[in-house]
Amino acid sequence: MIQNRVLRRKGVSTFIAVLLLMALTVAAGVVIYAYTMGYLGGLGGTSLPGAISLDTANCDGTTHNLTVYIRNIGKGSITIDRVYVDGSLVPTGNVTQTPVPLPEEQVAELIVEYWSFTAPTSYEIKMVAKDNTQLTFTVKCK
């Protein structure tokens, strides 16, 4: 008697089952999307890189010093991380930035000591900030 009752119970049809599975998958996908949007939104970098411009640069071939004034015209503070002279990296200890970091709309003075600065040669200077903001210019030593 009981066995017959169990056998007579009907489940959902195959069509409904497929529909339910699809709906569950879509719902799960939406939930995962919402989570990943929240958690991973910042991974690609939400802040734009900064922008720096050159005010003036003066290279002294006698003292082997390059004095550069740079201006932060972008968003966020800037700290110069690396300086290249004709593609060669200048040792970190030979670069002095004042102030550190450089706030928005402000000017920083950079002094780069490099033994190869001699007059009257032109050098290509490349400055790279910690947020990968870059500035490239050419200066002629006097």
């Binding site: 998958t25 995962i32 990943t36 890189p49 005010d55 003066n58 000017v107 003075e109």
Partner: protein
């Protein structure tokens, strides 16, 4: 389910990366375009009667209003301004800026004066005292 999750993950990463790159490019183009359309010309330079005071009259003939935020004389940054610094110069109008030269002004000497606008555009002029 796993494929759906992976697809969502990749879609999100791609969307974020592309959006970020587009924003960077858009910002760089806007900045370069603004700079390119800025035009300033020093139409008069005169030396003050007392000390090392310099007065510049500047014409803004560019598309946008601008302001002078810094001046350099022979690569020395001016530290003391009397007037005009950071004041708006509307387009097709004259502006004036007065400052104390960071170095002594001697007669019949050539000086290089660099004025910097707020967009970071440098304008270089040679002036003889």
């Amino acid at each position: 389910m796993i494929i759906s999750a992976l697809g969502t993950f990749l879609y999100n990463i791609t969307l974020t990366t592309i959006g970020y790159q587009q924003n960077v490019l858009h910002e760089e183009i806007r900045l370069a375009a603004d700079k390119a359309q800025e035009r300033l010309r020093v139409i008069a330079i005169w030396w003050g009667d007392s000390g090392n005071i310099l007065n510049l009259t500047v014409l803004n003939y560019g598309k946008y209003d601008t302001k002078i935020v810094d001046v350099y004389v022979n690569n020395e940054r001016v530290a003391s301004y009397l007037s005009g610094r950071g004041e708006w110069i509307t387009n097709l109008k004259l502006g004036r800026i007065s400052f104390v030269s960071p170095m002594p002004i001697t007669p019949e000497t050539l000086y290089s004066i660099v004025i910097i606008s707020e967009r970071g555009v440098s304008h270089v002029y040679e002036a003889e005292s």
